[in-house]
Amino acid sequence: MRDSKTAEPVYVDPVIEAYKPGLDVTLLRESLKRTPHQRVMAMLSMLELVEEARQAGKRAGLRP
Protein backbone atom coordinates (compact mmCIF):
# COMPACT_ATOMS: atom_id res chain seq x y z
CA MET A 1 0.00 0.00 0.00
CA ARG A 2 1.30 3.47 -0.87
CA ASP A 3 1.77 6.04 1.83
CA SER A 4 -0.18 9.00 0.51
CA LYS A 5 2.00 11.44 2.48
CA THR A 6 5.35 10.27 1.16
CA ALA A 7 4.72 8.49 -2.14
CA GLU A 8 5.68 10.24 -5.34
CA PRO A 9 2.72 11.14 -7.52
CA VAL A 10 2.01 8.41 -10.06
CA TYR A 11 3.12 9.42 -13.54
CA VAL A 12 0.24 9.43 -15.99
CA ASP A 13 1.42 8.61 -19.50
CA PRO A 14 -1.14 9.66 -22.13
CA VAL A 15 -0.03 6.84 -24.43
CA ILE A 16 -0.71 4.24 -21.73
CA GLU A 17 -4.00 5.96 -20.90
CA ALA A 18 -5.06 5.55 -24.53
CA TYR A 19 -4.95 1.76 -24.11
CA LYS A 20 -7.07 1.63 -20.96
CA PRO A 21 -10.57 1.95 -22.47
CA GLY A 22 -9.88 -1.25 -24.44
CA LEU A 23 -9.20 -3.35 -21.36
CA ASP A 24 -11.73 -5.96 -20.29
CA VAL A 25 -12.26 -4.97 -16.66
CA THR A 26 -14.62 -7.91 -16.10
CA LEU A 27 -11.78 -10.34 -16.79
CA LEU A 28 -9.47 -8.42 -14.47
CA ARG A 29 -12.08 -8.40 -11.70
CA GLU A 30 -12.48 -12.17 -12.02
CA SER A 31 -8.71 -12.60 -12.00
CA LEU A 32 -8.37 -10.64 -8.78
CA LYS A 33 -10.76 -13.04 -7.05
CA ARG A 34 -8.23 -15.84 -7.61
CA THR A 35 -5.04 -16.63 -5.70
CA PRO A 36 -1.72 -15.94 -7.49
CA HIS A 37 -1.36 -19.68 -8.12
CA GLN A 38 -4.86 -19.91 -9.61
CA ARG A 39 -4.08 -16.93 -11.88
CA VAL A 40 -0.94 -18.60 -13.19
CA MET A 41 -2.79 -21.88 -13.71
CA ALA A 42 -5.49 -20.05 -15.69
CA MET A 43 -2.79 -18.53 -17.91
CA LEU A 44 -1.16 -21.94 -18.45
CA SER A 45 -4.52 -23.46 -19.42
CA MET A 46 -5.00 -20.70 -21.96
CA LEU A 47 -1.47 -21.23 -23.25
CA GLU A 48 -2.26 -24.92 -23.74
CA LEU A 49 -5.38 -23.98 -25.69
CA VAL A 50 -3.40 -21.57 -27.89
CA GLU A 51 -0.81 -24.26 -28.59
CA GLU A 52 -3.53 -26.78 -29.46
CA ALA A 53 -5.06 -24.24 -31.87
CA ARG A 54 -1.64 -23.68 -33.47
CA GLN A 55 -1.17 -27.41 -33.93
CA ALA A 56 -4.67 -27.75 -35.37
CA GLY A 57 -3.87 -24.95 -37.82
CA LYS A 58 -0.71 -26.78 -38.88
CA ARG A 59 -2.54 -30.08 -39.30
CA ALA A 60 -5.12 -28.34 -41.48
CA GLY A 61 -2.36 -26.78 -43.60
CA LEU A 62 -3.32 -23.28 -42.55
CA ARG A 63 0.05 -22.57 -40.92
CA PRO A 64 3.61 -23.30 -42.04
Binding site: D13, Y19, L23, P36, R39, M43
Partner: protein
Amino acid sequence: MDLGRLLAELQRAKVEFIIVGGVAANVHGSVRVTVDFDVVYRRTPENMTRLVEALASHEPYLRGAPAGLPFRFDLRTLSHGLNFTLSTALGDIDLLGEITGGGGYDRLVSRSTEVELFGLPCLCLDLDKLIDVKRAAGRPKDLEAIAELEKLRTMKG
Protein backbone atom coordinates in the same frame (compact mmCIF):
# COMPACT_ATOMS: atom_id res chain seq x y z
CA MET B 1 5.77 -24.80 -20.53
CA ASP B 2 6.06 -26.97 -17.44
CA LEU B 3 6.28 -24.09 -15.02
CA GLY B 4 5.70 -26.28 -11.98
CA ARG B 5 8.71 -28.46 -12.85
CA LEU B 6 10.88 -25.43 -13.66
CA LEU B 7 10.06 -23.83 -10.32
CA ALA B 8 10.57 -27.12 -8.50
CA GLU B 9 14.00 -27.60 -10.07
CA LEU B 10 15.07 -24.06 -9.17
CA GLN B 11 13.80 -24.46 -5.63
CA ARG B 12 15.35 -27.91 -5.19
CA ALA B 13 18.76 -26.45 -6.06
CA LYS B 14 18.07 -23.47 -3.76
CA VAL B 15 18.54 -20.94 -6.57
CA GLU B 16 17.96 -17.33 -5.54
CA PHE B 17 15.74 -15.74 -8.16
CA ILE B 18 12.88 -13.27 -8.61
CA ILE B 19 10.03 -13.85 -11.04
CA VAL B 20 9.60 -10.91 -13.41
CA GLY B 21 7.94 -10.40 -16.80
CA GLY B 22 4.71 -11.98 -17.95
CA VAL B 23 4.41 -14.60 -15.21
CA ALA B 24 4.89 -11.88 -12.59
CA ALA B 25 2.15 -9.92 -14.34
CA ASN B 26 -0.13 -12.98 -14.11
CA VAL B 27 0.65 -13.28 -10.40
CA HIS B 28 -0.61 -9.71 -9.97
CA GLY B 29 -3.80 -10.41 -11.93
CA SER B 30 -2.94 -9.93 -15.60
CA VAL B 31 -4.95 -12.11 -17.96
CA ARG B 32 -2.39 -11.97 -20.76
CA VAL B 33 -0.79 -15.20 -21.97
CA THR B 34 2.99 -15.48 -21.88
CA VAL B 35 5.09 -18.18 -23.49
CA ASP B 36 8.27 -17.82 -21.49
CA PHE B 37 9.35 -17.53 -17.91
CA ASP B 38 11.59 -14.58 -16.94
CA VAL B 39 13.64 -14.60 -13.78
CA VAL B 40 16.32 -12.32 -12.37
CA TYR B 41 18.95 -14.55 -10.77
CA ARG B 42 21.53 -13.54 -8.17
CA ARG B 43 24.96 -13.28 -9.75
CA THR B 44 27.09 -14.84 -7.07
CA PRO B 45 29.29 -17.80 -8.02
CA GLU B 46 27.42 -19.96 -5.50
CA ASN B 47 24.03 -19.08 -6.92
CA MET B 48 25.13 -19.46 -10.53
CA THR B 49 26.50 -22.91 -9.64
CA ARG B 50 23.10 -23.78 -8.20
CA LEU B 51 21.41 -22.45 -11.35
CA VAL B 52 23.58 -24.69 -13.51
CA GLU B 53 22.76 -27.64 -11.26
CA ALA B 54 19.04 -26.91 -11.55
CA LEU B 55 18.84 -26.62 -15.34
CA ALA B 56 21.83 -28.43 -16.87
CA SER B 57 20.02 -31.75 -17.17
CA HIS B 58 17.04 -30.17 -18.98
CA GLU B 59 18.75 -29.49 -22.30
CA PRO B 60 19.26 -25.71 -22.00
CA TYR B 61 20.10 -24.15 -25.35
CA LEU B 62 20.16 -20.65 -26.81
CA ARG B 63 16.62 -20.03 -27.98
CA GLY B 64 16.37 -19.37 -31.68
CA ALA B 65 20.04 -20.11 -32.36
CA PRO B 66 21.01 -22.62 -35.06
CA ALA B 67 21.29 -26.19 -33.82
CA GLY B 68 24.72 -27.62 -33.18
CA LEU B 69 26.46 -24.58 -31.66
CA PRO B 70 29.02 -25.49 -28.99
CA PHE B 71 26.91 -23.96 -26.23
CA ARG B 72 27.68 -25.18 -22.75
CA PHE B 73 25.43 -24.22 -19.87
CA ASP B 74 28.01 -24.03 -17.12
CA LEU B 75 29.40 -21.62 -14.56
CA ARG B 76 31.97 -20.28 -17.02
CA THR B 77 29.30 -19.41 -19.59
CA LEU B 78 27.07 -17.79 -16.98
CA SER B 79 29.97 -15.82 -15.51
CA HIS B 80 30.95 -14.40 -18.88
CA GLY B 81 27.44 -13.46 -19.88
CA LEU B 82 24.56 -11.70 -18.16
CA ASN B 83 21.19 -12.36 -19.75
CA PHE B 84 20.36 -15.67 -21.43
CA THR B 85 17.25 -16.51 -23.41
CA LEU B 86 17.06 -20.28 -23.28
CA SER B 87 14.88 -23.10 -24.42
CA THR B 88 14.82 -26.13 -22.14
CA ALA B 89 12.97 -29.43 -22.09
CA LEU B 90 10.69 -27.85 -19.49
CA GLY B 91 9.95 -24.73 -21.50
CA ASP B 92 11.50 -21.42 -22.39
CA ILE B 93 13.21 -19.46 -19.65
CA ASP B 94 14.95 -16.09 -19.69
CA LEU B 95 17.73 -15.89 -17.12
CA LEU B 96 18.38 -12.23 -16.45
CA GLY B 97 21.35 -10.95 -14.50
CA GLU B 98 19.94 -7.45 -14.71
CA ILE B 99 16.87 -5.77 -16.10
CA THR B 100 16.51 -2.28 -17.53
CA GLY B 101 15.22 0.11 -14.90
CA GLY B 102 15.66 -2.38 -12.11
CA GLY B 103 19.21 -3.64 -11.93
CA GLY B 104 20.09 -7.01 -10.49
CA TYR B 105 18.78 -9.35 -7.82
CA ASP B 106 20.25 -7.46 -4.86
CA ARG B 107 18.54 -4.23 -5.90
CA LEU B 108 15.25 -5.90 -6.75
CA VAL B 109 14.85 -8.20 -3.78
CA SER B 110 13.48 -5.39 -1.59
CA ARG B 111 10.92 -4.71 -4.34
CA SER B 112 9.65 -8.27 -4.46
CA THR B 113 6.93 -10.09 -2.64
CA GLU B 114 6.64 -13.73 -1.64
CA VAL B 115 3.87 -15.72 -3.30
CA GLU B 116 3.06 -19.42 -3.33
CA LEU B 117 3.09 -21.10 -6.74
CA PHE B 118 2.72 -24.86 -7.14
CA GLY B 119 3.01 -25.10 -3.36
CA LEU B 120 6.41 -23.41 -3.42
CA PRO B 121 7.28 -20.03 -1.92
CA CYS B 122 8.63 -17.79 -4.68
CA LEU B 123 9.77 -14.19 -4.88
CA CYS B 124 7.91 -12.12 -7.44
CA LEU B 125 8.57 -8.51 -8.41
CA ASP B 126 6.00 -6.23 -6.78
CA LEU B 127 3.39 -4.55 -8.94
CA ASP B 128 4.78 -1.00 -8.78
CA LYS B 129 8.28 -2.12 -9.73
CA LEU B 130 6.96 -4.38 -12.47
CA ILE B 131 5.24 -1.36 -14.01
CA ASP B 132 8.44 0.69 -13.63
CA VAL B 133 10.64 -1.85 -15.39
CA LYS B 134 8.16 -2.40 -18.19
CA ARG B 135 8.08 1.35 -18.74
CA ALA B 136 11.87 1.50 -18.66
CA ALA B 137 12.14 -1.27 -21.25
CA GLY B 138 10.33 1.01 -23.68
CA ARG B 139 9.01 -1.79 -25.88
CA PRO B 140 5.90 -0.95 -27.91
CA LYS B 141 4.56 -4.48 -27.29
CA ASP B 142 4.42 -3.68 -23.55
CA LEU B 143 2.13 -0.65 -23.83
CA GLU B 144 -1.10 -2.57 -23.42
CA ALA B 145 0.45 -4.73 -20.72
CA ILE B 146 1.45 -1.61 -18.76
CA ALA B 147 -2.07 -0.22 -19.15
CA GLU B 148 -3.47 -3.48 -17.77
CA LEU B 149 -1.05 -3.49 -14.81
CA GLU B 150 -1.89 0.12 -13.98
CA LYS B 151 -5.59 -0.74 -14.12
CA LEU B 152 -4.98 -3.66 -11.76
CA ARG B 153 -3.12 -1.34 -9.39
CA THR B 154 -6.08 1.01 -9.35
CA MET B 155 -8.53 -1.87 -8.82
CA LYS B 156 -6.49 -3.22 -5.93
CA GLY B 157 -6.51 0.23 -4.36
